[in-house]
Subunit: 281 residues, 2 copies
Amino acid sequence: MINGIENGYYHEINPAGFGVAIKAGKVLFSDKSEFQKVEIFESELGRVLTLDDLMMTTEKDEYHYHEMIAHIPMMNHKNPKSVLVIGGGDGGTVREVLKHDTVERVVLCEIDGMVIDACKKYLPTIACELDNPKVEILVQDAIEYIKDKKSEFDIVLIDSTDPMGPGEGLFTEEFYTNVKNSLKEGGIVVAQSESPFVNKEEIKKMYNLLKKVFPICSTYTSNIPTYPGGYWAWAFCSQSVEPLSYIDERRCREITKTCKIYNKEYHLARFALPNYLKEIL
Amino acid sequence: MINGIENGYYHEINPAGFGVAIKAGKVLFSDKSEFQKVEIFESELGRVLTLDDLMMTTEKDEYHYHEMIAHIPMMNHKNPKSVLVIGGGDGGTVREVLKHDTVERVVLCEIDGMVIDACKKYLPTIACELDNPKVEILVQDAIEYIKDKKSEFDIVLIDSTDPMGPGEGLFTEEFYTNVKNSLKEGGIVVAQSESPFVNKEEIKKMYNLLKKVFPICSTYTSNIPTYPGGYWAWAFCSQSVEPLSYIDERRCREITKTCKIYNKEYHLARFALPNYLKEIL
């Protein structure tokens, strides 16, 4: 069986020999960009976005990912004004970031313009804030963009694809060092860091690099129904800010009302990890 | 597509229109008991047990479920001596319960003897403690068994199949009342309570009944890679014991060393629920 849609089902079998199967309806968009295959199809989980036949997001479970990548670091910062999102062309992370009324500027640096255009057209509930005047969209390689940035961002969110394909260069020591330099005093980086159950080797490699670069490097996890193993990890990195050292009570109270997952207790619980993941890290 | 093995893949599509696909190797056991189809096959996740073509357990991820159903209530009890496991014919829950050196007696009440026999033969790492002299195995309907039991158990674990098929009668007010009566003073019941993402209606119905019977009824969740949505809930019920009101430090320290998931911080974090699940409850 190959990944992708065949006989009415989308399949994605991960390296651990199992994966997700989704009853697939009409294919709304399918094309090859300079970087990857971009596809959007209908399903009982709403519309589904895949890149190179790997699950990116579905309308019915996208909030599991987007709330977690955005609100954990945003609530942990006293006054996040300037935010960089790397990847994240579907717009879900930008949408969550903009719930924080402290934010003045969001830069979305996505290498593939086709992803942005397709999501604006076919995933409007996810891409809905991409035209917000606070958002600057750069269709550009983040590796180049970040090179000369100094003390510019309060929060950097690495909302990338996997460490193979177009996202590969976003998992290197050089890139992480440039990201660190782009942070303002008190800045926080969060990077998606794969499935603890399925991608043990990738996680080990990634955190070894992150720990070389950032004096503070922690991990949090949450459920994502359609991702490998139903379980995902994010790296929380900073020069000076410990995770859970601060939660903005006012924003937390207000934003929780708009969330399907995020609340304060759930936030506080996210850094408690299972033994097998602690051993990997 | 039907659930079960076809063309080298096991599929289980849940009512939400998606599900798990597992590359299936050799089928080691396949038979119909009086109650259900029992099947065990090889895969990259180790051997897989399915009942009526629904995923019960795999050798590589079984500890996600068994550690959570057993240790959360067991650690919360000061001196659990007598334990009843309802269902759980694979033996994984019994294995975890017996890690607690306070335990003098475990009754396993499983309706289907074929499940026990097949698991003893083909899943020895899971069924390994079923011959322990502390264990009494009853091949019997738990609905009948529990009827006249009064103040007999410190812990009751309802390790059942779903609320359809042979497990149906284990999701009724009458059954829960009988379970309550079987508890000693300070006793705790934990019942598997389905996937928060996939089985919202079933969860609502089940907790409505549990709350009629038990003055204390709480919910905890954890990741299970091969279960619907990769996310599972358990009900924690008692007449007098609040969840997290006690954790046995000595047993916690010792047993954590033997676990792939369970540790104290992870335990403390389990009752923090996402907003959508709080709304259902």
